[in-house]
Amino acid sequence: MSDLTLTTLDRDGALLEPLAGLHGSTRAEFLSKAALGGATLLAAFAAPPDADAQSAKRDVAILNFALALEYLQDAFYSEVERLGGFSGELGRQARVVGAHERAHVEALRKVLGGRAISRGRYDFRGATEKPEAFTRTAVAFEDLAVAAYKGQAPYISDSGLLVAALGIHTVEARHAAWIRRLAGSSPAPNAFDEPRTGKSVLTLVARTNFTMKTGSRRSPRFTG
């Protein structure tokens, strides 16, 4: 994922939480397992291991994982639009795709209701401000979203949910093709999409300091 990793982006663990949920473990337990080897993380995107889990519960977990990815993309494109640094086709792509991602977020939040995970905070490390970094990161995000939906879709038990998820999946694939064209890459380089094996995902555990400490229990020393 160019110079970005999910770890550096996912300051609050907003992606890790639902991913761990799919595997029936806490984020810490999941990270501990994942630290043993990158294959664990690849498997995480490929399939939940607990095949006996209640299907409805698993559907919710999968939709929350999708929501986490949509939050990430929504935050990314919305920040680009707010900063207003890009013009021309790149600016238009960010505006249009951002509006799609916000629609995805709205729909997923609505269907999940009170079970929806909360929005995270992300550090895009300047990728929302420099065209080259933006393009590289957007390609990575869209490819990631396509791979993530594809990886989880076979495990959605409710066919109605599956159809809706596939409706998002194909739009993400169009986004990926669009930004790939703008990046000068082939929109469809292969006849068959392999499961994602990007090293960027495997570096998920590289750092753990996602959060900001904004609260303290120290006694104030203000002027009073």
């Binding site: 707010r82 640094g85 269907v111 895009f124 300047g126 066919s159 900001m212 104030p220 020393r221």
Partner: protein
Amino acid sequence: MTLVGDSPPAQPAPGARAGASTLPRPPKPAFQIGDPVPLASDRHESRWAKVKTATVARAEPRPRARPVGHLSQRTPEDTTNLVPALDRAVDRGGRLWVRVRLPVLPNNTTGWVPRRALGGYGIVHTRFVVDLDALQATLLRDGRPVMRVPVGVGTPAAPTPRGEFYVRNRLTSYRSPFYGPLAFGTSARSPTLTDWPAGGFVGIHGTNRPDLVPGRVSHGCIRLRNRDMRRLGSAMPVGTPITVR
């Protein structure tokens, strides 16, 4: 001429050969994806960023410009330091700079820092406005008042500084009735109490003397009655800009 008897046997339509007539209808989606959602108006948004690495703030967006302040990663309360992001510029070398508000004296100082020294952006839709003449504070959300409360402010000898500041952190669970149940740290500094511990920062906090609010009673801090402070504590996020006028 083709005779009927010479016609080739009738061929099934391509779709029928593939069994199309027996394919099930697509399931109905369990939820609908609505129309694209435009970005909401950002007229009342403010952006902040955490200080990722200690850095020097400069008068202009270039590496050798005059230093105007120093930013550390932590506040005196040991929370993550954050700064409002006011503007952006790219220097001749293509490096991105951000103009930020600084928690330094003189108050209202701004400076340029390298973008790489800052973390991701946060957004707030709130603003806290303190009216020193009316002894009143107002919390705005999306430009609309959501809370208006009486306040205690600095005495003439230790006045609450006027200007533009921001909320840096939120302190809870300490044991000091003087500061009430909750306190916000701000970037404002007392211009007179410069030797105060930790730099003489102005706080927004509760009190054990509600009878003195409203009034000109503090060393510069903004005091609220504890009930008001609890309400403010749940309504005002860190990063909120403060205007003292």
